[in-house]
């Protein structure tokens, strides 16, 4: 679609959203679960177009933001004690830990490598055969299949120096905790995660919590269409799950990827920043993959981490506080000098607010 048509289509959708929401009985608040949606909503200036009757709040879908500070400490301690090569996605390296970030650790001589694909770990492990290579396993269902595939290859190649430090999360247990919140009118559901788990898997939001949910793509129009559909459903008090991203997401998801996750991992309890321990919301290794678990094979003593009590990341990822209402926002906490992960991650809600301010 050319640029002019896109602008015209956007204008029509915005008008529709305004018309439906202005005749609704109460203001509506939807949670966009995914960090990539958060960034797209800000980047496209979509917030400036919505009427005050429709609010979008960000949820716990940025993998870096929901990762506990202690995880960074754990990684650094493994790096130090075992002279390990830490391999990570880029976003994690500036997240502050108790003894500094991974970037600081690297500047002090620690080995930290940034990769795009966990598969790169195979090559790195072969090259660095004298030391442990530890991949920092952070992410949702979009990331875990590629890590599972990496582990499968590592097993077949008998890689003895490759490990994964697990902090994986699955989205449903977190949604189960957020869905009962009475001020949430519905969910803008993630695109990439849904490509793996399928739109049918959210049916419980409608059945159990009476909340609508719409799976959306990441283009401006994808998001506007999904918001329009959410506003429609919420105004009719209709709890339904729609898949508005059919060109990528199947209702049943990607079964091969689901099987891969299930072959390598099994659910476990895990700690979420802001939400505490959520039963069954993490992934740990099944036999015969347990030998790759850095947490049990490269044992270090990780002291409990203290968060700055003024940091409100915990409220921000549950959608109960807008970033600019946090006392640290833009003052003591900036992307250059972040206090909490929501400011440092490129998908963090605070980073989105900071980077893409809304014109008032």
């Amino acid at each position: 679609m050319n640029i002019d048509n896109q602008a015209i289509a956007a204008k029509k959708l915005v008008q529709e959203i305004r018309d439906i929401s202005s005749s609704a009985s109460a203001p509506m608040k939807f949670m966009e679960v995914c960090g990539t949606h958060t960034m797209a909503i800000h980047e496209t200036g979509l917030k400036s177009l919505l009427s005050p009757a429709v609010t979008l709040v960000s949820g716990p879908g940025c993998p870096v933001c929901v990762t506990e500070k202690q995880f960074i400490d754990h990684a650094v301690l493994i790096g130090k004690k075992f002279d390990a090569c830490l391999v990570t996605f880029g976003d994690l390296i500036r997240v502050p830990g108790s003894f500094g970030s991974l970037a600081q650790f690297r500047s002090e001589g620690g080995s930290v490598r940034v990769v795009y694909s966990p598969m790169d770990c195979i090559e790195i492990s072969k090259k660095e055969s004298s030391k442990p290579v530890v991949f920092l396993g952070v992410g949702f269902e979009t990331t875990s299949p590629t890590i599972a595939a990496t582990l499968r290859m590592a097993l077949s190649e008998n890689l003895a120096n490759f490990f994964v430090l697990p902090a994986f999360k699955t989205i449903h247990p977190a949604l189960n905790i957020l869905a009962p919140k009475p001020d949430l009118s519905g969910f803008l559901l993630p695109g990439h995660v849904s490509a793996i788990i399928g739109s049918d898997s959210y049916q419980y939001l409608a059945d159990k919590y009476n909340k609508p949910g719409v799976v959306a793509g990441f283009e401006a129009l994808d998001i506007l269409i999904a918001v329009r559909d959410l506003v429609k459903l919420a105004s009719r008090k209709e709890a339904k799950i729609l898949n508005d991203y059919k060109r990528v997401v199947r209702n049943s998801g990607n079964v091969a990827a689901q099987n891969l996750i299930n072959e390598v991992f099994e659910p476990c309890d895990t700690q979420w920043r802001g939400l505490g321990i959520i039963p069954g919301s993490g992934l740990t290794f099944r036999e015969p993959y347990q030998g790759f678990n850095a947490a049990t094979k490269l044992v270090v003593d990780v002291p409990p981490a203290k968060d700055d009590p003024r940091c409100r990341c915990a409220n921000i990822i549950t959608g109960s506080l807008q970033p600019d209402k946090c006392g640290l926002f833009g003052k003591e906490c900036t992307p250059e000098d972040p206090v909490g992960p929501c400011m440092v991650s490129s998908e963090g809600t605070c980073a989105a607010y900071y980077k893409y301010g809304t014109v008032k």
Binding site: I3, Q6, A7, A10, K11, V14, T36, H42, E43, T44, G45, L46, K47, S48, L49, P63, V64, F89, G90, D91, L92, I93, R94, A103, R113, V114, V115, Y116, D120, V138, G139, F140, T142, T143, H192, A220, L221, L224, T334, P335, E336, S345, S346, E347, Y354, K355, Y356, G357, T358, V359
Partner: protein, 339 residues
């Protein structure tokens, strides 16, 4: 000049003795000398520069040192020449300071000097003085280069943020983000199949055209580190004005767009090394674009926005869907995203 692949820079090459002089005479001078350098004086006397000159210095530490579209040598010439050009000065003379890490292959040094000499010839500058130091392995990353430059100013214009007024129009000389994206992609961590070249080039030919606008030409800047976003914020802050740009009018190559989506890096914050942002008087953009179209390097120039108010200091980007948001000053290290 030695082509022996095994020859490397040794600490002795920086000792000031025979080895030093051999490196200079056999490797450096053949590439860079255009006359004035041959005497190797302690300093050089320069004539014919007129009443007004511009003077600048910059250091280059880019990694990797070789990238698609250039290397650290050509960059060190272009970067300094472009800083001069942004003052409206014709780049004329440069100095070159080389800091070499022990172990650097002489063939690599020669490749760098070759690109450097080509870039200098194309930019119309002469390398007139220089220095070479060698530091122990680990004390530098292969090679660092400092270049200083002197440019002649043949006009009376005062280009600067003070001249900018509400209504002025903003032009960019071509697609943005290529250099930054080319560098990101050529870092060892990533293995993507994009064909993105650095835009590293001298922008003086563009400036020379724009000077024909006389006092309608207000401000020039090369959007290097921090990209277009940093330059526009610099204009807003420097002149205490509101800048508005239209997202759809900013030229960006398709490949750069695609890479930026994968890397999660906004092309508006990615560096350029051969682009120019110009602020011209109200109604003068078309004339400026006509002048710029005479040069190949700026044949895809576009007007991207205007100075809209002096009541706020900010940059607003009007988005492709008709929304608007703040275009913030970029911050910190560029990082790829997580998923």
């Amino acid at each position: 000049m030695s082509n022996d692949k095994d020859l490397r820079v040794l600490l002795g090459h920086g000792g000031g003795g025979k080895m030093s002089s051999r490196l200079v005479k056999n490797t450096i001078l053949p590439r860079l000398n255009r006359g004035k350098l041959s005497l190797l004086p302690d300093s050089i006397v320069l004539d014919g520069l007129g009443d007004r000159i511009a003077y600048t210095t910059d250091s280059y530490t880019v990694s990797p040192i070789f990238f698609p579209g250039g290397n650290i040598g050509s960059l060190a010439i272009h970067g300094t020449c472009n800083d001069l050009a942004c003052s409206g000065a014709r780049p004329t003379f440069v100095s070159v300071g080389l800091i070499l890490e022990e172990g650097l292959a002489i063939t690599e040094l020669d490749q760098i000097l070759e690109e450097m000499s080509k870039a200098a010839d194309e930019a119309g500058v002469e390398v007139v003085t220089g220095d070479t130091k060698v530091v122990p392995k680990g004390s530098a990353d292969k090679i660092f280069i400092n270049t200083s430059g002197i440019g002649r100013i043949d006009h009376e214009l005062n280009l600067g943020p003070d001249a900018i007024e509400v209504g002025d129009e903003i032009i960019v000389s071509g697609p943005v983000g290529n250099h930054g994206m080319a560098i990101m992609l050529s870092r060892a961590e990533f293995s993507f199949d994009f064909d993105i070249q650095s835009d590293s080039a001298s922008i003086w030919p563009i400036v020379e055209q724009l000077l024909e606008l006389g006092p309608h030409l207000k401000f020039l800047r090369d959007p290097t580190r921090g990209g277009l976003a940093a330059t526009l914020n610099e204009i807003a802050a420097g002149s205490s004005v509101e800048v508005q740009i239209d997202e759809t009018s900013v030229p960006i190559d398709e490949q750069v767009k695609a890479a930026s989506e994968i890397l999660g890096i906004d092309p508006l914050v990615a560096a350029n090394e051969g682009k120019l942002v110009a602020v011209v008087g109200k109604g003068m953009a078309q004339k400026a674009l006509d002048l710029m179209s005479r040069r190949q390097i700026s044949s895809n120039a576009k007007m991207i926005g205007t100075i809209t108010s002096d009541l706020a200091t900010r940059v607003i980007i009007n988005t492709r869907i008709g929304g608007s948001r703040i275009l913030a000053e970029p911050s910190g290290e560029l990082l790829p995203r997580i998923c």
